[in-house]
């Protein structure tokens, strides 16, 4: 395949622009010191409504959105549209808990969700579980961003085979790693303006021009319907079938509950200046959901336009992630395709940076400082976090090089199942301390074990995989020690949801026993008013960077 030079030049120019912004960001809205996690890891904790909107929007609506969701719609139809109800549900659900988390974190100076758990329960074990879960769940999420970036690079003709074929991705990531190291959270915050601007531009153009070229939305849906009717699989189609509606609903709800348990989402929220900033954003962020829904439907446009995914030279298989890039390549002039590729590529860099910062914060605060170097100074903490952000990024690169990017979405679904198991420890703990530490630990062990076992047992006939073939579990496979309560049912359900229910049941049972036995349940560093404090209160812990 030949290199598409026009696209590559446009892409490279925009990439250079955001690289310059990334390095410049270290000086933007700068506080007194960068050698503190409040500054490097949370951007000084004083982002206003606009910056937060771009930052969280850039953080949550990732390359996954732009590449993998439309690819899912392209391949399976209506099921892939779960992303829309997912992002509709998330804001009403997290509105109140997120405000409480913001307040208590500002009163006590918490940087990570695990910091909060440590303060709430006085248990380093519990905090460690939350931190490890967060890091493990974030890694494949970063890898997914890389898969998106690589899909674009390969579409532009940088489609080499073997290890050398990953070189362009590697170079892009070294640059990202360097400016994240230097500027911390300010780099993705500033780049997010460019990213979101490009995305809105591209999607508006696509939504107007593509239907006009392809005969209107009606015929796009009809073309998709014809394709799915022709296939033998009953599970696909432009509407949900009898067996996948429960999966659709539980996946949307489970993903919505999981989103703000991810460390990078919490990082974005804690970087904001006040409760008002968060409230306004919970109202304004769904603007991205509309874009997400429209983008998802480009998967159908790709069917109508007879788009073919390109074959990844490193794996020898068609890479479904290249469907959307190829759609733009086929339907738009080269220069505009270049802009679209840059939007996707930069759309991968912003969340990858925030995720690596969030994972680095977890490592530093809840593993390094809690276990390895208890009396680390704030400077040492910050240096440790910067190095950890590099390690996390290269771990994600290794994941993508060693594993077929085709599975990136499955990897991320596994991450979602895992992170959901911290819901009782983090989200419920914002409201009540009723659960016992060891009840939560037992629930986590059962939820993780069960969730991973179920995922292991799910085959994917389409890709010929025996294990980890997706997150939809047929109910007839559900068994409790040999008892099949739903034998014969082909209804599918989201594994994460099942595992969370198991987690909660065990946590409740163990808690009841331990409370009866009056086993010590740790000390609570927080008080009820801590969860309600707002900007300007004298009870907030001063932010390091403000002390200039």
């Amino acid at each position: 395949m030949t290199v598409r030079w026009t696209e590559l030049v446009v892409f490279a120019a925009l990439f250079v622009l955001v690289t310059a912004l990334g390095f410049y960001a270290a000086r933007w809205q700068r506080g007194g010191t960068l050698d503190h996690l409040d500054e490097w890891g949370l951007g000084g904790r004083r982002f206003g409504s606009w910056v937060t909107w771009f930052l969280i929007g850039g953080d949550l609506y990732t390359a996954y959105t732009f590449v993998a969701v439309p690819a899912l719609i392209f391949g399976a139809g209506a099921m892939g549209f779960f992303a829309l109800p997912y992002t509709v549900l998330v804001y009403p659900l997290v509105f109140l808990p997120l405000l409480r988390l913001w307040s208590v974190s500002r009163v006590h100076g918490y940087v990570t969700p695990a910091d909060f758990v440590q303060g709430r329960y006085g248990s380093a074990t519990l905090a460690l579980l939350v931190a490890v879960t967060g890091i493990v769940a974030t890694m494949p999420y970063i890898a997914l961003q890389l898969a998106g970036l690589e899909a674009v690079l390969r579409t532009m003709g940088l489609n080499g085979g073997g290890l050398a074929g990953h070189a362009p991705l590697f170079i892009a990531f070294v640059i990202l790693a360097l400016y994240t190291y230097q500027s911390g959270l300010r780099a993705p915050a500033l780049i997010a303006f460019v990213k979101d601007g490009l995305i809105y531009l591209v999607i508006i153009a696509a939504v107007i021009i593509l239907p006009a070229k392809l005969g209107g939305w009606g015929s796009i849906f009809d073309a998709a319907n014809a394709k799915f009717t022709a296939t033998k699989t009953p599970a696909d189609g432009i509407l949900l079938g009898p067996n996948n509606q429960l999966q659709y609903v539980t996946l949307a709800l489970g993903s919505a509950l999981a989103l703000f348990l991810y460390p990078h989402a919490v990082t974005g929220a804690l970087a904001s200046r006040s409760r008002t900033v968060i409230k306004r954003n919970m109202v304004a962020l769904p603007a991205y959901s509309l874009v997400l829904g429209l983008l998802a439907l480009l998967g159908y446009a790709a069917i109508a336009a007879h788009t073919k995914p390109i074959v990844n030279a490193a794996t020898g298989r068609a890479d479904s992630n290249t469907v959307i890039p190829m759609l733009f390549e086929g339907q738009f002039p080269s220069w505009f395709a270049g802009i679209a590729f840059a939007a996707i590529g930069i759309g991968a860099l912003v969340p990858a940076a925030i995720m690596s910062i969030a994972a680095a914060n977890l490592w530093t605060r809840n593993i390094y400082k809690a276990y390895l170097h208890r009396d680390a100074t704030t400077e040492q903490e910050c240096r440790q976090a910067k190095i950890a952000s590099l390690v996390v990024k290269f771990g994600a690169v290794a994941l993508i090089v060693l594993i077929d990017p085709q599975y990136s979405i499955d990897l991320q679904l596994i991450g979602g199942v895992i992170i959901l198991q911290t819901l009782p420890m983090v989200a419920i703990a914002l409201y009540t301390r009723w659960f016992h530490i060891w009840g939560l630990v037992a629930g986590w062990v059962v939820g993780m074990g069960w969730g991973l076992t179920l995922l292991y047992g799910i085959p994917n006939p389409a890709s010929g995989k025996q294990h980890f073939g997706g997150s939809a579990l047929a109910l007839n496979k559900l068994s409790f020690l040999g008892w099949h309560p739903f034998a014969g049912s082909q209804l599918q359900i989201y594994v994460g949801f099942v595992a969370l229910i198991g987690n909660l049941v065990i946590a409740v049972l163990v808690t009841i026993v331990l409370r009866q036995l009056r086993v010590f349940n740790g000390t609570d560093q927080t008080t009820p008013p801590d969860y309600l404090e707002d900007e300007g209160s004298p009870n907030l812990k001063p932010v390091a960077g403000m002390l200039r």
């Binding site: 549209f81 009403p92 009606g218 849906f221 509407l239 509606q245 709800l253 919970m282 309600l532 009870n539």
Partner: protein
């Protein structure tokens, strides 16, 4: 921090509005092709409508429910 006046968490009836978007989990409501709007099957345009519904619910809670939560 012990000298703070006690602040009570107050539930507001408005907050129940946050549960309204859960209606989007009821698939029989919208899992159909007809009627189409601008070529979009019901399944798609109905779910797009849930976006402004969610925004309105959250916005009303933001404006009406007071701050002490």
């Amino acid at each position: 921090m012990s000298s703070r006046p006690p602040v009570q968490r107050r539930w507001s009836g408005w907050e129940l509005l946050l549960l309204v978007p859960l209606v989007s989990l009821f698939t029989p409501l919208y899992n159909g092709d007809e009627p189409r709007v601008l070529g979009f099957p019901l399944f798609y345009w109905a779910q797009f409508l849930f976006v402004p519904l969610g925004v309105i619910c959250v916005a009303v809670v933001y404006l009406k429910a007071g701050d002490r939560r």
